[in-house]
């Protein structure tokens, strides 16, 4: 696997492991897979104020199964989004609301989650994680330690960390 330039290591990122940028699981929205879509929407609405836009989904043993974000939920609410081109989207708000089927809300979120194809270790270097996020076009990535999910790292936190270090090194 190719790594980004080692130059960055000299600009303050040399000792940075990903654990330092971690949002602990205790602070991050998460749910069991049997929670309903409605509960997930409620959770995401409350979590939005804290800057979180994704729900992690676990099984009863706290084994991570996947994630659910606003994008996926909107697709569930109005499946037409997937097929329509921008100029054909209804401009009427009620069309959207009415199309949200009650039965969909009561469905467990396990039906809608996206699995994580990869996780990183808590001791992985920040640049390695940045690389993986870019490679796989991810916004967040779970971080584990000793087999347990410790939390997640967000793309924009890594962005700020890296670009912040660059700006500081140029002064």
């Amino acid at each position: 696997m190719a790594y980004p330039s080692q130059n960055f290591c000299k600009k303050g990122l040399m000792m940075t492991i990903i654990k330092k940028l971690l949002i602990p699981l205790t602070d991050y929205p998460h749910m069991p897979y049997w929670a309903t879509l409605e509960e997930a929407i409620v959770l995401l609405n409350f979590a939005h104020e804290s800057g979180y836009h994704t729900v992690l989904v676990f099984d009863e043993f706290y084994k991570l199964l996947g994630m659910l974000d606003g994008r996926e939920i909107l697709r569930v609410i109005n499946p037409k989004f997937k097929k329509l081109s921008p100029d054909k989207v209804s401009s009427k708000w009620n069309d959207i609301i009415n199309s949200a089927n009650d039965n969909q809300f009561k469905k467990p979120i396990k039906d809608f989650i996206s699995p994580f194809n990869m996780m990183v270790e808590s001791t992985d270097h920040i640049l390695k994680v940045a690389y993986l996020l870019l490679q796989h076009n991810l916004d967040i990535i779970p971080v584990k330690e000793a087999g347990k999910v410790l939390g997640v790292v967000r793309m924009h936190d890594i962005f700020h960390k890296i670009t912040g270090s660059i700006l500081q090194s140029e002064k």
């Binding site: 699981l25 205790t26 929205p29 998460h30 749910m31 069991p32 049997w34 929670a35 509960e39 409620v42 959770l43 409350f46 979590a47 804290s50 676990f58 099984d59 009863e60 043993f61 706290y62 084994k63 087999g147 347990k148």
Partner: protein
């Protein structure tokens, strides 16, 4: 301590040897059940005793004693059963019990000590401190003679010790049984009274007592032999408690003009009068017991009075009315006190000594005089005396001075009996405390009575107050047997026998009688509104017609005037009796509750000061002890039966008796007989459970590596749940997800037994999320009126004393909540989520 424990141990059968876990649970449950049952018994007895203090009931010492005995037994049983249930965790309760019990016993044991004395004691050596030797009346006469210096006829006392020896000599104690007598059963009272009277009259006075009495009689008249040809005496009751705080006015016999040959027979008659039905009623309703019924007798030189009567050193109906009241009749005083004739009444000022404020001198046609041989005889009052005053103004003033002297000596108002001999010498025959009505009824009642028809507007108030009821005429003593509850007693003459219906009557009216008579004294003691001297009541009133007796203004109205009755309401008369005081004192060691809040530091065995405290404490900790039994390390599937039920729980049941139908190793909900378990299961089966079904050990082991945030909590996931049940009881330890939850309930027909308790702890999520879940559960429980204590993620909630159906309904909601909150901690990202879930729960699952 060992002795104390041994006493207690004798109270319950030794437990059977524990053969297995199920047997152990059954035993503990049986202790718990017994404790609950005794707890109820204690609460009921206490409530009954407290209700008696309301004053609306008549009761006697037998009731008090029986209630206390039951209470002591039940509290002992509570302690013993708790001891077994908790395996000896609360030894201090034994000491608390012993301490309280000794106080109760001290209150109950208050027997009279009868001193050993001579059988006959001359008045010259008697003072008021000698009540237990000579009785109240004699003690007062001795006091007046020897310490006050007022004239008292010569005489001697036949001592209480003589009475005691007489009872022992004839073995009467075991023959006269009064304890079980019902005071409301006048017919029964009369029967017992007659039997007791006959027993005494058939008994023999021990020879040494007889000799002592006759010698004293001879000695008395040896001194007086110059005065009279054939000496005679009055033989008068002087019971131990007579003429003290309780007057016993007119309850006992007095024999007049008794010669020596009839002295012994009359002595027995006076003793027998202890057991007249009216005297027994008085004794019992005033709180005395059989052992208190001790009769000394006074033998007093007979004064063949020219005039005699009663004198009150104050107006008993109006303490603020500063006057002395004297009544007087021609002849012997019996007619002044029994209401046979209407006496002269003189009201003398206390403020301005010697000022006669009022004189009433109704004509007196007959009088009682000493017969020439023995006894007394009614004779006509000589024509010239009939309408004249019995006393001159000077005599009235002289006598009034005696009243002030006696009141000063005794330091309280006095009710005095006096006689004037043919030589115009006054004698004091008796003095006793005068009952003054403390609280006067409302005076502004005239306005209430506008528009109501007055039937009679004359009469003298003997006891202030207002009463209403149907007219019931009493012509003979036997009529009292049929006296209806709440009626107004109407009679021609007053009678001390009326006392036997004073617990039933609303008011008393008599056409003849005096406010200073015996019956009036009793009416004031029992606070019965009483109008006397109404003259025309027997003629004017109609049987069974409702009337209102205004014994404040002296009017009798047609019909019932509720406002007037309310305005003239009296304090309950029985509240001043000895039995009330005893009960009140006992309840001080029984009823107050000092252990109120179980979470308080002082909610401990060391702080139990009353039986109520012990009961409350034992009930609380017994529930805790039972609550813990499913946590017992001894519990295993071995003794349990698996319940096949379509909910994601693996449930094993241990039946303590009456909880399940079948002996099979697998049962379904249809086999469950336990009332609370059924309610809970029904609720659990009615809701859709979130999450997966319970997994088996194999499944668990395959995923254990990826497990939860809380170390050591994983094992809970695969542990089965145990329920220990009986017909009315359930203790269900639910292993659900990563938390432990116990629901315990008792749902029976007695509301005092019923309770539900809910304990919750643990969870798989981080501590802040677990805490949020307990907050959510707390909100739900509080909405259900549970008393909830929460510490972090541990929650303890309970309700007690709800009726069965309410407990079952709450169990149904608890079942829904159990499913609803299963592993919900994972989701509770912030407090806003808690609030949202709470509202959702109410919307979907809460039915008021």
């Amino acid at each position: 301590m060992r002795r104390l424990l041994n006493i207690f141990r004798r109270k319950v059968a030794a437990p059977q040897p524990v053969s297995d876990d199920g047997q152990m649970f059954k035993e503990r449950y049986s202790y718990f059940k017994k404790l609950l049952s005794e707890n109820n018994a204690v609460l009921e007895i206490m409530a009954d005793m407290e209700e008696k203090l309301s004053g609306e009931y008549i009761f006697d010492m037998n009731y008090v004693r029986t209630s206390c005995n039951k209470l002591v037994d039940s509290v002992q049983n509570i302690i013993v059963n708790l001891d077994k249930l908790s395996k000896g965790k609360y030894p201090v309760l034994y000491f608390a019990f012993a301490r309280i019990n000794s106080k109760i016993e001290a209150t109950l044991i208050n027997k009279i000590e009868i001193p050993v004395t001579d059988f006959a004691i001359p008045f010259e050596s008697v003072t008021k401190e000698m009540v237990n030797s000579v009785g109240g009346k004699n003690a007062n006469l001795g006091e007046i003679k020897n310490r006050v210096g007022l004239p008292v006829p010569d005489g001697f006392c036949i001592s209480a010790y003589a009475f005691k020896k007489f009872i022992e000599y004839n073995k009467l104690k075991n023959k006269i049984i009064l304890n079980s007598t019902d005071m409301g059963d006048i017919e029964g009272l009369n029967k017992i009274s007659k039997e007791a009277h006959n027993l005494i009259m058939e008994s023999q006075i021990p020879p040494d007592i007889e000799t002592g009495i006759l010698n004293a009689f001879s000695e008395l008249f040896r001194k007086a032999s110059s005065k009279v040809s054939e000496p005679t005496a009055s033989v008068r009751s002087s019971a131990i408690y007579e003429d003290a705080e309780f007057t016993f006015a007119g309850q006992y016999k007095t024999a007049l003009n008794v010669t020596s040959d009839k002295l012994i027979e009359q002595y027995k008659k006076v003793i027998a009068s202890l057991f007249t039905s009216r005297a027994m009623f008085y004794y019992k309703t005033k709180g005395f017991e059989e052992d208190d019924m001790v009769m000394a007798v006074g033998v007093v030189e007979m004064i063949d009075a020219r005039a005699s009567g009663i004198m009150y050193s104050r107006d008993p109906n109006n303490a603020e009315n500063d006057s002395i009241i004297i009544n007087a009749v021609w002849g012997l005083g019996k007619y002044a006190v029994d209401g046979t004739v209407s006496p002269n009444i003189y009201v003398v000022s206390r403020d301005k000594p010697g000022t006669i404020l009022e004189k009433t001198t109704p004509a007196q046609e007959v009088m009682l005089k000493c017969d020439s041989r023995d006894g007394a005889v009614e004779v006509e009052v000589p024509e010239e005396k009939r309408a004249t005053s019995c006393l001159t103004d000077d005599q009235i003033k002289f006598l009034a001075d005696y009243a002030l002297v006696l009141e000063k000596h005794y330091d309280r108002p006095q009710d005095i009996e006096w006689a004037l001999d043919e030589n115009n010498n006054f004698f004091i025959l008796q003095t006793r405390p005068l009952n003054i009505l403390k609280e006067q009824p409302a005076k502004n009642i005239q306005t209430i009575t506008k528009g109501h028809k007055i039937l009679i507007n004359k009469g003298q108030v003997a006891c202030k107050g207002v009463g209403a009821g149907k007219v019931f005429f009493v012509n003979r003593e036997e009529d009292l047997e049929k006296f209806p509850e709440g009626a107004v007693l109407v009679a021609k003459h007053t009678s001390t026998g009326f006392v036997t219906v004073m617990n039933k009557t609303s008011a008393i009216i008599a056409d003849v009688g005096s406010p200073t008579g015996h019956m009036a004294t009793l009416a004031r003691e029992y606070k019965i509104p009483t109008l006397l001297n109404t003259v025309i009541a027997m003629k004017t009133l109609e049987a069974d017609k409702e009337i209102t007796v205004d014994a404040i203004n002296g009017n009798i109205y047609e019909g019932r005037i509720d406002e007037l009755v309310e305005a003239g309401k009296m304090d309950n008369p029985f509240k001043d009796t000895a039995v009330f005081r005893v009960l009140r004192e006992l309840l001080n060691n029984i009823a107050p509750l000092n252990l109120i809040h179980p979470e308080s530091e002082k909610f401990s065995q060391e702080y139990c000061e009353t039986f109520h405290d012990i009961t409350r404490f034992a009930h609380e900790v017994s529930m805790k002890e039972m609550f813990k039994i499913v946590d017992s390390p001894d519990i295993s599937k071995r003794e349990a039966v698996k319940l096949e039920v379509k909910i994601p729980l693996e449930i094993y049941i241990i039946d303590l008796g009456g909880g399940i139908k079948s002996d099979s190793k697998k049962i379904t909900p249809e086999h469950i007989l336990s009332i609370p378990m059924n309610a809970l299961l029904k609720g659990m089966m009615a809701i859709e459970w979130p999450g997966p079904p319970p997994i088996n050990v194999k499944g668990f082991m395959s995923v254990i590596a990826s497990t939860a945030m809380q170390p050591h909590s994983e094992k809970l996931l695969w542990e089965p749940s145990f329920a220990i049940i009986s017909g009315e009881y359930m203790n269900f330890n639910i292993r659900l997800g990563y938390h432990i939850q116990t629901i315990e309930a008792y749902a029976g027909d007695n509301i005092n037994d019923n309770y539900a308790r809910f304990l919750f702890r643990g969870g798989g999520a981080s501590v802040d999320r677990r805490t949020r879940r307990t907050r959510l559960i707390k909100q739900i429980l509080e909405m259900m009126d549970f008393n909830v204590k929460r510490t972090g993620d541990v929650l303890d909630a309970s309700i007690t004393k709800y009726d069965k159906s309410t407990v079952l309904k709450k169990l149904g909601i608890l079942a829904h909540m159990t499913a609803y909150t299963k592993q919900l901690d994972m989701t509770l990202f912030n407090d806003a989520m808690v609030d949202w879930y709470f509202k959702e729960f109410i919307k979907k699952h809460y039915v008021k």
